[in-house]
């Protein structure tokens, strides 16, 4: 079609226009056909162009014969050129199309790959959270069932003893009393564990509300030690508080909890008869540091950071067996300390033996005290103080 067009255009100018020009115009037409329509149409166009060129523009006109031998050469050259141009440009066009198709394909593959990767990492994340959930479940199972075991064994022992007729086989008064105390302690342990789980959940959710009050460091330490008395019966407890410690503005209940946890850990890891030292000193103008040191096996350097992770147990069998409760205690302690704006870390114990856990709390300032007493004047202040952590 384009050939016809080009040919038709040129005809009237036959007399005035050079044969070469016509040839070139026809070549352009072939090129156009190749680019737009592809290689087969380009082929057809080449043939047509050649025939047309011969018929209309090479003498004798309107015949397909050629008189001048030079024109044969011209015609052949024209034909070959036309063919070549047609094919080459068609090929170029095809290449371009293929490249484009390739790019589209690549993009599609990339998208698929990314989707698959996202799915896989989601599955991995789900698996990880399932593992964490089952580890939490193990922790809950173990730390709830252990005191329950003591309670059930104690209760059934006492019950069975009541039916005992043989006097020599009966439990003595002291034994009975001791067993009843076991029941009480176990119930307290259960309560503490449940509280710990709730605290941990709140800390994880970023939902700690602290009730700060001015208090003496010694009082807080004494409260913690009083609670920890049953744990430290077999240890030597020393308290070393610096003189002239400022009063601090903290949530006494939770800071006591932190000290209790550290003492609890120390009593579990340190052998009987060894010393547990609680220290307090002024770390700077507005920071007080409290520490609990034991003479146990200590905590290796590489474990000192992850010890504060939820399920760390200090054992090669990570989550498998043993007490999970310890791991939770440190995680909760860290949550409480950091909520106060302090830090908690582990050091070597005195003279390299054992471990010392140190935490800092800001002393707190008058400004906070003023705003607090202001809020206490309002009735809503009283309502919020009912809200325990």
């Amino acid at each position: 079609m384009a050939i016809a067009f080009a040919t038709g255009l040129s005809l009237p100018f036959r007399a005035h226009v050079n044969v070469t020009t016509v040839a070139l115009a026809l070549l352009l037409a072939v090129l156009f056909a190749a680019i737009v329509f592809g290689s087969k149409p380009a082929l057809a166009a080449s043939v047509l162009a050649m025939l047309g060129f011969n018929f209309f523009f090479l003498p004798p006109y309107h015949t397909l014969t050629i008189a001048d031998p030079q024109n044969w050469v011209a015609l052949t050259a024209f034909f070959v050129t036309a063919l070549a141009v047609g094919q080459l440009s068609a090929r170029a066009k095809r290449r371009a199309e293929e490249a484009e198709a390739g790019r589209v394909e690549n993009r599609r593959l990339y998208d698929e790959l990314r989707e698959a990767f996202d799915r896989a990492s989601e599955a991995e994340a789900i698996k990880r959270s399932e593992r964490l959930k089952s580890a939490l479940l193990d922790a809950v199972t173990h730390d709830i069932r252990t005191p329950l075991t003591s309670i059930k064994a104690s209760a059934t022992l006492l019950l069975e003893d009541r039916d005992e007729t043989e006097n020599s086989a009966k439990l003595s008064e002291e034994e009975q009393h001791a067993i009843l105390e076991v029941i009480e302690h176990s119930a307290n342990r259960l309560d503490r564990f449940v509280e710990g789980i709730v605290d941990l959940a709140r800390i994880e959710a970023g939902d700690i509300s602290l009730h700060r009050n001015w208090g003496a460091v010694e009082d807080i330490i004494d409260a913690a030690l009083a609670q920890a008395e049953p744990l430290t019966r077999h240890h030597n407890v020393r308290v070393s508080v610096a003189e002239e410690l400022p009063v601090i503005r903290v949530d006494a209940r939770t800071v006591t909890e932190v000290i209790y946890t550290l003492v609890d850990n120390a009593s579990k890891y340190a052998p009987s008869g060894t010393t547990i030292t609680i220290g307090a000193c002024r770390a700077s103008d507005d920071v007080v540091a409290i520490s609990v040191a034991d003479e146990g096996p200590g905590i290796p350097q590489h474990a000192r950071e992850i010890a504060f992770e939820k399920f760390y147990r200090g054992d090669s069998n990570e989550i498998e067996s043993g007490r999970i409760g310890i791991g939770m205690g440190l995680a909760i302690a860290r949550g409480i300390v950091e909520a106060h704006g302090g830090h908690i870390w582990i050091e070597d114990g005195t003279s390299g033996r054992g471990a010392r856990v140190v935490f800092t709390v800001p002393v707190g300032d008058e400004e906070d005290a003023q705003s607090k007493s202001a809020s206490e004047a309002r009735p809503s202040g009283r309502a919020t103080s009912e809200h325990h952590m």
Binding site: L137, D138, T141, H142, R145, T146, P147, L148, T149, S150, I151, K152, A153, S154, T156, L157, E160, D161, A169, K170, L171, E175, A178, I179, V182, H185, S186, R313, G314, D315, N317, E320, S321, G322, R323
Partner: protein, 234 residues
């Protein structure tokens, strides 16, 4: 008078060991306590108890590892204390040689019953050719089996299974242990096969195969053979 049987209790929780010691001592046993695996092994070699009761979950050396270490040098009866959900470890411990298990929390009565049963676990041999245990009498030469005096005809494999049961009365036997002992190492996964076999055996020896009193099923774990009909309790 028989000397008091010695029991070694291994658990890292001081309160439970206190209660266990009270209960066991009250019933005439001589009790010592170890707070971890290493201490248990030391005490075991020094004191040679007749029975070991150990918790599964302990720091450093857990109950499973302790079982293995004990079995390296002794056939002492072992009872493990496990928690529901510790199935896999419990089965491993039984495979490793523990005799029985108790699931926490348990009552004192359950513990005492297990202790009694485990300590009793040695069948009386009549001469060298027959074994008598509870309601069962097995003649090893003629391969004749009597249940409460009545002769029962068993196939060769059924006989092997029953003999193994009788020799390990009151002990919890895992599927794997039974399959390995009777059919060999290649068949230790064929739990279904074992189940079918037990069903056949029950039909022959149980007064009511639907309510077995001799071959008891331990769910998910295996079987326990009781040579004497127990009065139905808890």
């Amino acid at each position: 008078m028989e000397s008091r049987k010695r029991i070694l209790v291994v658990d890292d929780e001081q309160e439970i060991t206190f209660v266990l010691r009270s209960g066991l001592t009250k019933h005439g046993y001589d009790v010592r306590v170890a707070g971890d695996g290493e201490a248990a092994l030391d005490l075991f070699h020094a004191w040679t108890p007749d029975l070991v009761i150990t918790d599964l979950a302990m720091p450093n050396m857990n109950g499973l590892q302790l079982c293995r270490r004990l079995r390296e040098s002794s056939e002492v009866p072992i009872i493990i204390l496990s928690v529901k959900g510790e199935e896999a470890t419990k089965i491993e411990a039984l495979d490793a040689g523990a005799d029985d298990y108790l699931t926490k929390p348990f009552g004192m009565g359950e513990l005492l019953a297990r202790v009694r049963a485990t300590l009793r676990r040695s069948p009386t041999t009549v001469g060298a050719t027959a074994i008598e245990e509870g309601d069962f009498r097995i003649d090893l030469e003629s391969r004749e089996v009597q249940v409460k005096g009545k002769v029962v005809h068993l196939s060769p494999k059924e006989f092997d299974l029953l003999l193994f049961f009788v020799r390990n009365a009151s002990k919890v036997l895992t599927h794997r242990t039974l399959l390995a002992k009777i059919w060999g190492g290649d068949y230790t996964d064929q739990t279904e096969y074992l189940r079918v076999f037990v069903r056949h055996l029950r039909k022959k020896i149980e007064p009511d195969p639907a309510k077995p009193r001799y071959i008891l099923t331990e769910p998910w774990v295996g079987y326990r053979f009781v040579p004497e009909m127990q009065k139905p309790d808890h």
